[in-house]
């Protein structure tokens, strides 16, 4: 065993490790809170029980909210993938100098404070009948998701050799056929990661939802928000754990598929 003298480096490393632990550890406090049997929240739990999960599943309000969240997230993903992918393909065709401006324009919804976007959408959705609807919410969430799809797809497009598409069309392939056989397989990883991130962003989103979900399209985060503003209940901890589980599972799935992809591309080289 090598013995370490206390150096500034070692101190910085320990401090860094503490910061990293501080980043993750507190997030999971909702999990022990959700498995306590008593009707108040206790960490660590005294008697383990899944009874609040049962209560969550039997509660119509929570189930409707969960269902709304899933519908909104799926629709958001579809909208963001459509708009973001086409825009990324467009960016690829622009001269290099023009690209930053166009990308900047698509990314601009990320710069404007979300509270401003939220009240602006609240103001206009009421006049055009999209307030409190799933499509209205999905379009609102898509504002925040399109940029990530664009960035992810652009990254995979940059790795694609443009000569491949040229060769295909030179050999007589029609543009749609080139897209299906050359471009689409190449940008697939970008589509997948952009799409999953869009889904998670929408599934987690609170501020825009608070303003435009209304009563009829209330999502899980909105319901959770309303609940914890009044009191902390074990069911709220269950709902948080459900949101947490969804995101962590999707995160692990994307990491695994990314690892498999790099492994297989290393093999083929």
């Amino acid at each position: 065993m090598k013995r370490y003298k206390p150096t500034p480096q070692a101190a910085a490393q320990i401090f860094g490790a503490a910061v990293l632990a501080f980043l993750v550890m507190p997030i999971f406090a909702v999990v022990p809170a959700s498995v306590n049997e008593a009707s108040f929240i206790k960490i660590p739990p005294e008697t383990l029980s899944l009874k609040w999960y049962g209560a969550f599943l039997e509660d119509r309000g929570w189930m409707i909210a969960l269902f709304n969240s899933l519908r909104v997230a799926l629709l958001t993903t579809a909208i963001a993938l459509f708009i973001g992918t086409l825009a990324a393909l467009g960016v690829e065709r622009l001269p290099k100098r023009a690209r930053p401006f166009v990308i900047g324009a698509v990314l601009s919804p990320l710069i404007v404070p979300v509270i401003m976007i939220s009240i602006a959408l609240y103001y206009v959705t009421r006049s055009i009948g999209l307030y409190g609807t799933v499509p209205g919410l999905a379009l609102g969430h898509a504002l925040l998701c399109v940029p990530f799809v664009l960035l992810n797809v652009s990254v995979s497009l940059q790795r694609l050799d443009p000569n491949l598409a040229r060769a295909a069309s030179g050999l007589g392939a029609r543009p749609t056929y080139v897209f299906r056989t050359v471009t689409l397989p190449a940008i697939w990883p970008g589509l997948a990661s952009g799409g999953v991130f869009a889904f998670v962003l929408s599934f987690d989103e609170v501020v825009i939802s608070l303003f435009i979900a209304g009563y009829s399209a209330k999502t899980l985060p909105v319901k959770l928000w309303e609940q914890i503003r009044v009191e902390f209940t074990p069911v709220a901890a269950v709902a948080s754990t459900v949101i947490l589980a969804f995101t962590v599972l999707l995160f692990i799935a994307t990491r695994m598929s990314a690892r498999k992809r790099t492994a297989s591309s290393e093999r083929s080289q």
């Binding site: 910085a12 490393q13 401090f15 860094g16 490790a17 632990a21 501080f22 980043l23 993750v24 507190p26 997030i27 999971f28 909702v30 809170a33 206790k42 960490i43 660590p44 909208i79 708009i83 973001g84 086409l86 825009a87 393909l89 467009g90 065709r93 990308i103 900047g104 990314l107 601009s108 919804p109 710069i111 404007v112 404070p113 979300v114 509270i115 401003m116 976007i117 009240i119 602006a120 959408l121 103001y123 206009v124 379009l139 504002l143 399109v146 998670v200 599934f203 987690d204 609170v206 501020v207 985060p221 914890i228 503003r229 902390f232 709220a236 948080s240 947490l244 995101t247 962590v248 995160f251």
Partner: protein, 292 residues
């Protein structure tokens, strides 16, 4: 190339036009979407901000002349500044640690940064509420090791807001710092070492200046995000922890004065744009975003 001479110019222009039309068509969905769903609503809001009783700038005048509203904006700026400084200080050693570890522990470390990005801010904030509660685990630990006899008030005050905001925004600071550290050429550090410079000098004269753009980029992200933050201060703060975003919310949902809400959000946007304009003169924020 002579064989295509007769029709080449004509067909070339035709193709270029076709190509331009195709490129435009690819952007069309994004244009329509951003036009209707982003530019138009924000435009409506800007128009609204000039439609307050008593003249075009009445809403702005009321916001800026009132002691109460000014305090809210000053508090928001103070909160953002504090959170930014703390995040930058915490992010630096964390990012440095990430550059020093490999293999399994590197994955663990990287996931510590990436997982929070994915997890709902609401859930993260709720977790803090449970931890900091009067009878929560933090108070229990503090009492059991004898730091305090009775539960401390950790929630619904400055402490809760500052802690929660730092926690929620810290990942945004770590990633740009980390990517700037990866770009540092290690031969420079070796050269400095071999020329006899003490570690501290190498750090202060070489490593720190080279990684400062990453710190600036990360700090800018944190500052801009915290300016408009709503969820965390609204849940962890007390009645006097009003931020600009909460003020806008109360204008819309409680007091129903849309022009004031619109004007307050325009002021917020102007601050954001000024900060962006200033920092983008020093660092390329775009390149730090793409790493994410």
């Amino acid at each position: 190339m002579t064989w295509a001479a007769p029709s080449r110019g004509f067909r070339g222009r035709d193709q270029r036009l076709g190509r331009a039309v195709m490129t435009f068509m690819l952007f069309l969905p994004a244009l329509i979407f951003l036009g209707i769903w982003f530019v138009w609503p924000l435009g409506q809001l800007v128009v609204l901000s000039f439609q307050y009783d008593g003249g075009a700038f009445a809403a702005y005048h009321e916001l800026l002349s009132s002691e109460v509203f000014r305090t809210v904006f000053v508090n928001t700026l103070k909160l953002a500044t504090f959170v930014t400084i703390v995040c930058a200080i915490l992010a630096y050693p964390a990012a440095w640690l990430l550059t020093r570890i490999k293999g399994f522990w590197f994955s663990v470390g990287l996931y510590c940064i990436l997982v929070p990005f994915w997890i709902s801010i609401l859930v993260r904030t709720f977790s803090w509420m449970l931890l900091l509660e009067r009878n929560g685990p933090v108070n229990n630990i503090l009492m059991s090791i004898g730091i305090t006899d009775q539960p401390l008030k950790l929630l619904f005050n400055d402490f809760g807001v500052y802690l929660g905001m730092v926690h929620v925004l810290l990942p945004y600071a770590v990633l740009p710092v980390y990517s700037s550290m990866l770009k540092v050429d290690h031969r420079l550090l070796q050269a400095s070492d071999s020329l006899g410079a003490p570690g501290r000098t190498t750090f202060l004269k070489i490593f720190l200046p080279l990684t400062l753009p990453g710190v600036t980029a990360g700090a800018t992200f944190v500052f801009l995000l915290s300016l408009g933050f709503f969820i965390t201060p609204a849940l962890l703060g007390g009645p006097h922890n009003l931020t600009a975003a909460m003020l806008i919310d109360s204008f819309v949902n409680e007091r129903l004065v849309w022009p004031l809400a619109a004007a307050a959000s325009v002021i917020l946007l102007v601050i954001v744009l000024v900060v962006l304009a200033v920092t983008s003169r020093f660092v390329s924020l775009g390149s730090s975003v793409v790493v994410k």
